[in-house]
């Protein structure tokens, strides 16, 4: 029996609006074991990113709280490293310097030489050693995301939070990075919470898939255990009945139980960056 090391307890959040508080999330309960790979899936605007931002400490939950190893977390920190959707590398620093900045912040008494070794080690882990002196603008989107992952891993996080890490990538690059991520996860055994829109990605990578209902007052709809043996191979799994059953479950949740009718006129981008509360779900 694995012990629960990350617990989301009764989490809810209200965003202030001119018309009074808008309840985006309510009663989100999750117990996550050490080394577990968890996916959050749901329609856009349902508050997946909000959950992630609360765990990261970037948002403060209005109700409930996040407990990591027995301690409540309220502010961002490197033990909950985030891989942002659009990589968020500092454009004025080289690939190496971007990772180095993270390593220096979490140096744990490392010497200059050890810092260099650790940066190199993490770049090697994501196969980016060859481009370490390039600026982010000089490498492809997939490569940038690899560096983003290396930066997060270099902080030796207890929990790795990934906000649609491969959402902006083309299908082939995405498949590559998914394989890399599975490799790294097998090797390091970090706890991972990943947000995704992609049903195949969720089933392929996760131990558990958390499906969220539509907002406002979004919460957890269903949780699906994906007990497929690792290492997983995407080609072999294509004909696997259990894999297809899992896919089917997620698809049914998204397109039957939580079918989303979005009117064209009220379509706005989900509240990701501007703290803008989406009106699309109302």
């Amino acid at each position: 029996m694995k012990k629960h090391h990350l617990e989301l307890s009764q989490i809810g959040i209200d965003f202030p609006t001119p018309k009074g508080p808008f309840n985006a999330l309510t009663n989100v309960n999750l117990k996550i074991a050490q080394g577990e790979f968890l996916s959050l899936i749901g329609h856009s605007g349902c508050g997946k990113s909000t959950v992630l931002n609360i765990v990261a400490g970037l948002y403060q939950a209005t109700y409930g709280g996040v407990i990591l190893n027995g301690q409540e977390v309220n502010e961002p920190g490197p033990e909950r490293a985030v891989v942002f959707q659009n990589h968020s590398l500092l454009p004025w620093l080289s690939v190496y310097k971007n990772v180095e900045l993270a390593v220096r912040q979490t140096r744990n008494g490392r010497s200059r030489k050890e810092i260099k070794e650790w940066v190199d080690h993490n770049l090697a882990l994501v196969h980016m050693t060859h481009a370490k002196d390039k600026l982010p603008s000089e490498i492809s989107g997939g490569m940038k995301q690899r560096v983003g992952i290396a930066r997060a891993l270099s902080m030796q996080p207890k929990v790795l939070l990934m906000d649609e890490p491969f959402g902006a990538l083309d299908a082939l690059t995405r498949a590559h990075l998914q394989d890399s991520l599975m490799e790294i996860h097998a090797q390091l055994g970090n706890t991972v919470i990943m947000i995704t829109h992609d049903v195949d990605e969720a089933v392929l990578l996760s131990d558990r898939i958390v499906m969220m209902t539509n907002g406002p007052s979004a919460t957890i709809g269903e949780v699906l255990d994906v007990d497929i043996d690792r290492p997983r191979d995407r080609i072999a799994l294509a004909d696997d009945t259990h894999y297809n059953h899992c896919r089917h479950e997620v698809l049914r949740f998204l397109y039957e139980k939580q079918k989303k009718v979005e009117s064209v006129s009220s379509r706005t981008t989900p509240q990701r960056r501007q703290h803008q509360v989406g009106t699309d779900a109302a």
């Binding site: 942002f84 500092l90 004025w92 900045l101 600026l135």
Partner: protein
């Protein structure tokens, strides 16, 4: 630019081997600006002939060119005088030391009137000191205002209040305050210089302050989140994230400030009697000789050219400092 297939009438000229698109680029780069200048000079000389003033006819391009030469000649003559003066002084001192070894030679500065070229240097020096003073205050203050909404709310009314104040309103106050507070037997700077520099600083504080604040407050939220997750301390946050991402806006502010400072300086020097270009214009105006207007026109062009050069220097500095070498800056 020129799509010859859609305009078949032009094909005739293309057939003759005349590359229109290349010609278009060249004309845009060099010929059109020259044409503009020529048209301006033509109109200027035509209009100048018809303007009669108490100091005679308004100077045309020819008279102004003549005065440019004569100002340069005066500068060189003055320099020869100065050289001769220092040579004589050195000789005299050497003689006295030879006669009386205990004599300590006195070095006196040449006291001739400053020439036009020297006045240009004084102006440049004054504007740079004022600008540096303003930037040293404005950039840190702008960063604070950009980082903290409360600081911005506190500062904003003051910024809006003092931004539109003319240098001519500040000058009397600055003059009186400087006379009252800057008292020393052996002053390092003349009072007129301090007054002018402070007036320049007061006027070129604002564009840098406002642009820095806007630049700092509009940093990408993702980068701010990175900083939070990494728990960067305030200093590292400013050095690694805030400054690099707001460099373009800071420089936009600095360029506006320097432009304003240079404009303000001329007025300040006129009133403070700082021996720079402003004083030159004022003295020529008071002098009222038949050459005065042409000499003032020389000063006008000098001021314009130096203002342009200063802006170009700031632009190169921006390109040198900025991390994004591909960014289009103009």
């Amino acid at each position: 630019m020129f799509n010859s297939s859609s305009i078949p009438i032009m094909v005739g000229s293309v057939r003759k081997g005349f590359d229109r698109s290349k010609w278009g680029q060249k004309s845009a780069g060099l010929i059109l600006p020259l044409l503009g200048i020529l048209v301006f000079i033509g109109m200027w000389s035509a209009v100048a002939k018809n303007v009669d003033t108490s100091l005679g006819q308004f100077p045309g391009p020819a008279q102004v060119w003549e005065q440019t030469g004569s100002l340069w000649a005066e500068h060189q003559a003055q320099q020869q005088k100065a050289d001769a003066f220092y040579a004589r002084q050195a000789e005299r001192n050497a003689q006295r030391v030879a006669l009386d070894p205990s004599y300590e030679p006195k070095i006196r500065d040449f006291t001739g009137a400053p020439t036009f070229i020297e006045q240009i240097w004084t102006s440049l020096y004054t504007v740079m000191v004022g600008f540096a003073l303003a930037s040293l205050v404005a950039v840190p203050l702008g960063i604070v205002c950009g980082l903290s909404k409360s600081a911005y709310s506190a500062m904003n009314p003051l910024i809006q209040l003092f931004k539109p104040v003319s240098p001519l309103a500040w000058l009397p106050l600055v003059t009186i305050v400087v006379s009252a507070t800057y008292i020393s037997d052996d002053p390092m700077f003349s009072k007129s210089f301090v007054t002018s520099a402070i007036t320049v600083a007061l006027c070129c504080l604002w564009p840098t302050l406002i642009n820095t604040a806007v630049g700092v407050s509009s940093i990408d939220t993702d980068l701010l989140n990175v900083s939070k997750v990494l728990r960067l301390n305030a200093i590292t946050h400013i050095i690694k994230i805030v400054l690099p991402s707001s460099i373009p806006m800071i420089f936009t502010g600095l360029r506006l400030s320097l432009g304003i400072g240079w404009m303000v300086l001329i007025a300040a020097e006129m009133l403070a009697q700082n021996p720079g270009l402003g004083k030159f214009v004022w003295d020529e105006f008071q002098n009222g000789s038949s050459e005065s207007l042409a000499r003032i026109m020389v000063a006008v062009f000098t001021i314009g050219i130096i203002g342009f050069v200063l802006d170009r220097i700031m632009l190169s500095l921006q390109q040198w400092v900025s991390w994004d070498k591909t960014a289009i800056t103009r």
